[in-house]
Symmetry: C2
Subunit: 455 residues, 2 copies
C-alpha cells in the first residue's frame, strides 16, 4: 500500500493516467504487525490503533482496493493476474501493465504432530493477535493456577511475546534450538538476554528441538484437539498456550510459480529500484524480497517493517514516473523485553566468518548515563572490526532502558559509511551526564576493537 500511495503521489497531475488496483486476501490492510505483541501485552488498548490506514482511506486516496481478493497466479507472458474472490470462490483474470508483488512473509510454522491443535498460535496478523487474546481469556477462566505459556523461538517476536505472556500472569517458558536466546546476537550477548529473562521469571530452555505438541480432546474446541504440552528432545513442557515465534520465510510462492528469481529464504530478487531483473514490468518489495547487505555484500532476507516501508516508497516513486533507489541495509534491528533493550547492526561473529572476514572484538560493560547520575543503567556493547584494517563489521548492544537500544543507530551509520572502529571511537557523539558517560560505551567498545584489530 506504501508503493501504491507513493505512485499516486509522485504521479501528481498525471495521476488520472494511473489506475492502481490492490488485492488483499485478508480483512485488513496497512497495519503495524510489529505492534501486535504490544497489543497482546496490553500496551496498546485496541487493535484499531495498529491500523495506519483503513481500506476506506486508501480508496478515498484513489486506490481501487479489493479486500478478500487473493492473487493465485501470475501470467507474465499474458500480463495478467489470476484472482480469487476469497468469500465467493469466484475466479477471474486481471490484466496489468505493471505488477507489484508485495506478498510479505509467512511464519515458519513447523510441520510437527499437533501443530494444528487449538492453542498453538502465531502472532503475525491482527486475527492472530485476537486469537491469542481470546485463548488467554479462555485459559485463564478455566485454570485456578497460572496459565502456562510456552514460547517456541527466542528471537524478537519470542521475547516480546514472553513479556506479553508475563503481563497476562502466565508462567512463561521460552524454548529455542540455539545455544542462547536471540540468535541474531552472538551467544555471549544472547547469554545476557537469557539472564534478564530468567530474572523476570521466564524459564529459558536452549539447545532444544521441538518434536511436536501433545494434545487433548476438549469440549471447548469442538472437533479440534487442544494443546497440552510441547514435546522436545529434552523433555515435555506442559502448556495451556503455545506461541510460535520461529521466524519467517518470504511468501513468494506466487513469484516462484511464475518463474521469478529468488534468493535467501525464498526472497524475490530485485534491483535497487525494486524492479525484478529480466522481467519487464514486474516489481517487488517488502518482506517477500531479499535486500542487499552493504557489509557482507550479499543478498539477505530481513523481514522488517522499516525496510518494507522504504522499499514500498522507492518502488512507488519509480512506478509513478520518478526515480529512487533502495540503498540496501546493514542489518540494524532493535527490540526489548520489559526494561531490557537489545539492538544489533552489521555482522555477528558467525556472519563475519561466513563472509570470509578475519576480525577482532571489543566489548565493554558500562552505563547508559554518567555513573553518578540517577538510574544509570548497565549496558554492554560489543564491536567487531576487521583484522588489519580496523573497519567496523558489526555492533551488538544489550542494556537496560531507556537509552540502550537506540545507540545502535550511530553504529549503523558508522557501518553504512565504512568507518573504522578507531574513527567511531573519536567521532563527535553527544555527551551530557543524563545521556551518556563522558566516553560513550559505544566508543569505548570501538576503541577496544580497534586496538585488537590493529595490534
Amino acid at each position: 500500500m506504501s508503493a501504491a500511495s507513493q505512485a499516486l503521489r509522485v504521479a501528481g497531475g498525471r495521476r488520472e493516467e494511473l489506475e492502481v488496483i490492490a488485492l488483499e486476501r485478508s480483512h485488513h490492510t496497512s497495519y503495524s504487525a510489529c505492534g501486535i505483541p504490544y497489543w497482546i501485552a496490553g500496551d496498546v488498548a485496541d487493535r484499531s490503533a495498529l491500523v495506519a490506514r483503513t481500506a476506506e482511506q486508501h480508496r478515498r486516496n484513489g486506490i481501487d482496493l479489493r479486500m478478500r481478493h487473493e492473487a493465485i497466479a501470475l501470467d507474465l507472458e499474458g500480463r495478467k493476474v489470476e484472482v480469487r474472490d476469497v468469500d465467493s470462490g469466484a475466479e477471474f483474470s486481471l490484466p496489468y501493465d505493471e505488477v507489484v508483488i508485495a506478498t510479505g512473509a509467512a511464519p515458519a510454522r513447523p510441520d510437527l504432530p499437533g501443530s494444528d491443535a487449538a492453542g498453538v498460535l502465531g502472532v503475525q496478523t491482527l486475527d492472530d493477535g485476537a486469537r491469542v487474546l481470546h485463548w488467554l481469556d479462555a485459559m485463564k477462566s478455566r485454570r485456578a493456577e497460572n496459565c502456562r505459556a510456552v514460547v517456541v523461538g527466542g528471537g524478537y517476536i519470542g521475547i516480546e511475546m514472553a513479556e506479553a505472556m508475563l503481563r497476562h500472569g502466565c508462567q512463561v517458558r521460552v524454548v529455542d534450538r540455539g545455544e542462547e536466546p536471540m540468535s541474531t546476537l552472538d551467544p555471549d550477548m544472547g547469554a545476557l538476554v537469557r539472564e534478564a529473562l530468567e530474572k523476570l521469571g521466564v524459564a529459558v530452555s536452549t539447545g532444544v528441538e521441538v518434536r511436536g505438541f501433545d494434545t487433548v480432546r476438549d469440549e471447548g474446541t469442538g472437533p479440534r484437539e487442544r494443546v497440552r504440552a510441547v514435546v522436545t528432545d529434552a523433555g515435555t513442557y506442559d502448556a495451556d498456550v503455545v506461541v510460535l515465534g520461529m521466524g519467517v520465510v518470504a511468501n513468494s510462492d506466487l513469484a516462484v510459480r511464475a518463474g521469478l528469481p529468488t534468493g535467501a529464504r525464498g526472497g524475490i530478487v530485485t534491483d535497487p529500484r525494486m524492479a525484478v531483473p529480466g522481467h519487464d514490468g514486474v516489481w517487488a518489495a517488502g518482506d517477500c524480497v531479499v535486500s542487499f547487505d552493504r557489509v557482507s555484500q550479499r543478498r539477505v532476507h530481513v523481514a522488517l517493517g522499516t525496510h518494507a516501508n522504504k522499499q514500498g516508497r522507492v518502488l512507488g516513486t519509480n512506478l509513478g514516473g520518478g526515480y529512487a533507489r533502495f540503498p540496501g541495509i546493514v542489518g540494524t534491528a532493535a527490540s526489548k523485553v520489559c526494561e531490557l533493550e537489545i539492538a544489533r547492526t552489521g555482522l555477528r561473529e558467525i556472519d563475519a566468518r561466513r563472509a570470509g572476514f578475519r576480525y577482532a572484538v571489543g566489548t565493554v560493560d558500562s552505563t547508559t548515563r554518567a555513573g553518578y547520575f540517577p538510574d544509570a543503567a548497565p549496558i554492554t556493547v560489543k564491536v567487531l572490526a576487521e583484522q588489519g584494517t580496523g573497519r567496523l563489521l558489526g555492533v551488538q548492544i544489550v542494556g537496560y532502558g531507556p537509552g540502550s537500544a537506540k545507540r545502535i543507530d550511530a553504529c549503523a551509520l558508522a557501518l553504512w559509511n565504512g568507518m573504522t572502529a578507531a574513527d567511531l571511537a573519536m567521532a563527535d557523539l553527544s555527551y551530557a551526564p543524563p545521556f551518556s558517560p563522558v566516553w560513550d560505551p559505544v566508543q569505548i567498545a570501538a576503541r577496544r576493537a580497534a586496538a585488537a584489530a590493529l595490534g
Copy 2:
C-alpha cells in the same frame, strides 16, 4: 590529567623515562564539571560522586601532582614554567622538555555593577556548586515565600540551572539577550524550549540585556553586599540568588602572554596531534583550545568535556611516544530541562549563512515511539541541507524524553561522513514500536530537507 595518565599508559615499559608533573591551582582535580547542575538539583547526592579520580589516585598512578600550584608564566625560550604556590605565595621555576597547557575555560562573567555581590554565583567548579547550595539554604531559611532565582543566560548551563532552582522550590526566571533561549539552536527551535520552560513555571525574558545587580547591605554577608535584584534594559527583576550561565571563554592568558597563537574566543590553536604549531614541545588540549569544525571547515571554540577527554587522550598518546590525531568535531551537544531533551549537531541557519552556504530546511513534528505506543512523546526535528547538493549541514532536535536527544548521534555521524539528507532518509536505522515510528523522525525531516534542497 587525561593527557598525563595516557602518556604514562602509552609509555608502558618506558614510563620510568617519563617524569610527569601536573600543576593544579584549585583543591580539586578530575571532576565532572558537567555534573555540577545535577548535584545542585539533588540528582547527585554528593560532590565526591563527581570526582572521577582523586589527587591520591593520580599520584599512585605515577603523576607528580602538585595541588594549589598555579602556572603564572611560561618561558618558551628557557623551557620553564613560573609557578606560584597558592597557599604560601612562594614562587619558583620548573624546567620542562615538553609542556602541556590544559587551563580550561573561564565563565564569561560580566564586568557589571554589583556582579561581585554575594548571591551572584557561577557554576563552573565544585566550590561554585557548594556556594550555590549554601546560599540556597541561607535564603530558604530567611524567606517565608519562595526564594526568587534569576538565571542569566539561557544556554545549556542556564536551563540545567533553571531546573535545579525549580527543584529547590524557587521561583525561577531565565534572562537571555537572544531572541529565544538556547541560542545554540535556531530561534524556531529555541521557541520550543521557551514553551517548555514556561509550562514548567519558569519565566523567560529574552531580548534582554543585563545592566547590573542591585545590592543591599546584609549582616549575613559581612562587608560584601548581597544581591537583591537583576537590573536589565527591560526592567528590574527581584532576586535572592542569581546564577550566571553566560558561556565561557578559553582560559588562555598564560598562552597569550607566552606568544602562542589563539583563535575564536581565545582558544589556543593546535594541530591534530594537539601540538601548538611553530612551538616545539608545546601542547594544549581541552576547553582552552579551538577545535576544527568539519562542517564549516573553521576553527571554533567548543568547551565540552567530551572533546577535552578525547583531546587529552590524543595528546597523551603522542606525548607517550605513540601516534594519534584528534579528528575534529561537528558541533554535537545535548542537554535537558526536566523531561525536555535538546540536541544539535552541525550548523544552525546563522552558521550556514556565515560559512557561505545556501541551504534548505526540513522540519517534522513526530513522536519518539510508534504513535500507538504508550508514552509516545512529541519530538521536533529540523534538518539543514545544502541547496543543490542536498548535503547535510546540521540537525536540531527538541523533544520529550526518553529517546529524543540521543537521536542526534546518528545525525552527527551522517554529518561526519558528509552524507546527503536523502542518504540519511534511506539509511538503515533501527525500528521497533517502543523506540521509533516506522519512519524515524530524523529520517522524515531529512527527506523533507532533501526534497527542499533539490527541488
